[in-house]
């Protein structure tokens, strides 16, 4: 596999102004993430991990600097264009799964496909495939409230991969799960990374979870601290 850069951050600065206070999260951050990486990002609370995911995933934009994903600048896209870009290029995985409670597992997984031009039967095929990959096809007709936390996260992962994006972003994906279930989910992400070539960026505060990644970065005060003591 050749090392190809999927994501490039170039002098990215992010500031929040709250009243008269200005909080600087990133100051001139420059970094690259290669395609096919499984990257864990660790760091103290408030260090900007979620902000970084938001910027990489095109749901927040940097105050200055450029963000390039797959050769495409996303920092200066309009909101509508970003929305379409996200639908096609990014799968999101959340700590609390963020499934739609009124929909079945299969309907939840189908959501991203509703933004494509696929017909009903093609959508059903894709949903079935995604549910099979995460090993939860037998729960397709269940509502989230009828599923355990681990099962819900599997459904959420199926939703994230169903439109086959290159990039997956996960914020504390095991933060709400017990150890055994967490390991299952992390192995699942590993599988998606190794077998399906997904580039995965996972925020976690758990060193055990970070071990499943191929590389760990430590974020502190807006900077990456290389290989801090574990």
């Amino acid at each position: 596999m050749t090392e190809k850069t999927l994501i490039e951050l170039d002098h990215v600065t992010k500031r929040y102004t709250r009243g008269r206070d200005t909080i600087e999260i990133f100051d001139e951050l420059t970094m690259g993430i290669e395609e096919g990486a499984f990257l864990a990002i660790m760091g103290p609370s408030g260090s900007g991990k979620t902000t970084l995911l938001n910027i990489l995933g095109g749901i927040d934009s940097p105050t200055s600097g450029s963000v390039t994903v797959g050769g495409q600048r996303i920092d200066n896209m309009s909101e509508g264009a970003l929305s379409k870009w996200r639908a096609a290029n990014v799968g999101f995985i959340f700590q609390f799964y963020n499934l739609m409670p009124m929909l079945t597992a299969a309907q939840n997984v189908e959501l991203p496909l509703l933004l494509t031009d696929l017909g009903r039967s093609r959508r059903a095929e894709h949903v079935k495939t995604a549910l099979n990959v995460v090993g939860i096809a037998d729960r397709a007709k269940h509502k989230p409230s009828e599923l355990s936390g681990g099962q819900q996260q599997r459904v959420a992962i199926a939703r994230a991969i169903v439109s086959d994006p290159k990039l997956m972003l996960a914020d504390e994906p095991t933060g709400d799960l017990d150890r055994t279930t967490a390991v299952e989910i992390l192995e699942m992400l590993q599988l998606l990374n190794k077998e399906f070539g997904k580039t995965i960026i996972m925020v976690t505060h758990d060193p055990e979870a970070a071990r499943f990644a191929s590389r760990t970065l430590h974020l502190d005060k807006g900077h990456f601290v290389q290989e801090a003591a574990e």
Binding site: I59, R86, F94, F96, L114
Partner: protein, 394 residues
């Protein structure tokens, strides 16, 4: 096609999530239903009363009373005045016979079926020409009273609302005894609240001598009222007022019309504002409760438009369900409901609430406005929720 799928899916999700907020939804729905009901009841009352009272009077029929009388009850005309009026210009004559009916209007006691309470009913003494002068009078049961006999015909509404007026029965008013010989209809007008008998019989039973209280007369043209007024003005014995029946009835209906304008509409408007506040509250609650779902969908790539439409549809569903409930309640409780109110003459005027399709449309438009406004601002907020919140624990 994708935008259609997206919008349909978001709308379906929004509506499907309604049961999670069922109580807020039900309260909103009921508030809208109450507004619809009040609005329709007020309008139905106005329409019904209008049909009964304002619609009763003809513009080609005059009612002549003593000058200064507000109503027939406190009017009085002597036999001399009646004879002079028989010669008046402006009144249609067939052969030598003026098309006029000198009439008496006395109050008798009746029992209201719904309450069992005693109420005042108008008994009108008239002649056959008087019957002719009322529009659309038909005898629906039995026959007309005969001259010189203690016989009554009873208006359809009076028979329905008050006890003891079935044809064939005998009724007692004070010392007088009457035979009910028939039921008449008069196009749903105020006359259906009356009892009719031969004027001469009423005169003798109520010791009225040869006097009357009013004259109904068929006018021969648009300037007939002026002709009669001029005729009376030249004769000091004719101290009378003359007006068309239409004018007379519209003046009679003033108390209820001013009640509807002064109480009914303001009440409906205040309640509509209350329901609007309720709808806004319900929809803001809905947006807040579903904040995480909404921003998650936005992160996945769903647009603000579908979010907006979803919330609007939820509000409109509530408004529509509220309208449906309100219309149903109104139909069940108010349509054809016969109400009686004291007319200015202190007698009972019986009228039907009429719930017409136009009323349904009017109330529906009001509910739709509540739904549109009550949905719009929350929908706007929903569409503008910050997508960055998807990864934060909202």
């Amino acid at each position: 096609m994708a935008i259609w799928n997206e919008t349909v899916a978001v709308t379906a999700m929004t509506v499907k999530s309604l049961p999670q907020r069922i109580w807020v939804a039900i309260v909103t729905l009921i508030a809208i239903a109450i507004v619809v009901t009040v609005m329709m009841a007020v309008l139905a009352m106005a329409a019904g009363f209008d049909k009964t009272v304002a619609g009763a009077g003809g513009v080609d029929t005059a009612i002549i009373m003593r000058a200064g009388s507000q109503a027939e009850l406190n009017s009085g005309l002597s036999s001399e005045q009646i004879n002079l009026l028989a010669e008046a210009p402006g009144i249609v004559r067939v052969g030598n016979q003026p098309q006029a009916s000198p009439e008496l209007y006395v109050i008798v006691d009746g029992i209201k079926k719904s309450t069992g309470l005693s109420v005042n009913l108008p008994l009108r003494g008239m002649n056959p020409i008087g019957v002719e002068l009322r529009k659309d009078v038909v005898i629906s049961e039995g026959r007309m009273f005969e001259t010189g006999k203690n016989e009554l015909v009873v208006g359809r509404a009076a028979r329905q609302q008050f006890a003891g007026f079935d044809p064939g029965s005998t009724v007692q008013f004070g010392k007088t005894t009457w035979q009910v010989v028939g039921i008449f209809e008069a196009g749903g007008s105020v006359f259906e609240s009356e009892l009719w008998a031969d004027a001469k019989v009423v005169q003798s039973l109520y010791n009225r001598g040869n006097s009357y209280q009013s004259v109904r007369a068929l006018l021969d043209g648009p300037d007939a009222i002026q002709k009669i007024e001029a005729y009376a003005g030249n004769d000091p014995r004719l101290n009378i007022s003359v007006q068309t029946e239409a004018d007379y009835f519209s003046q009679l209906s003033k108390p209820l019309v001013s009640f509807i304008n002064g109480v009914g509409y303001p009440l409906a408007i205040v309640m509509a504002l209350g329901a609007l506040a309720g709808a806004l509250n319900a929809m803001y609650t809905s947006v807040a409760a579903r904040q995480r779902e909404i921003v998650t969908l936005r992160a996945i790539g769903f647009g603000g438009f579908s979010t907006f439409v979803g919330i609007m549809v939820e509000a409109l569903v509530l408004a529509f369900a509220g309208t449906l409930l309100g219309v149903m309640v109104t139909y069940i409780f108010f349509d054809g409901l016969t109400a009686s109110t004291l007319g200015q003459t202190f007698t009972q005027i019986v009228f039907d609430f009429s719930v017409t399709p136009e009323l349904v449309v009017q109330a529906g438009v009001l509910a739709l406005a509540i739904g549109l406004i009550g949905g719009f601002f929350p929908a706007l907020r929903a569409a503008r929720l910050p997508v960055v919140d998807a990864f934060r624990n909202v």
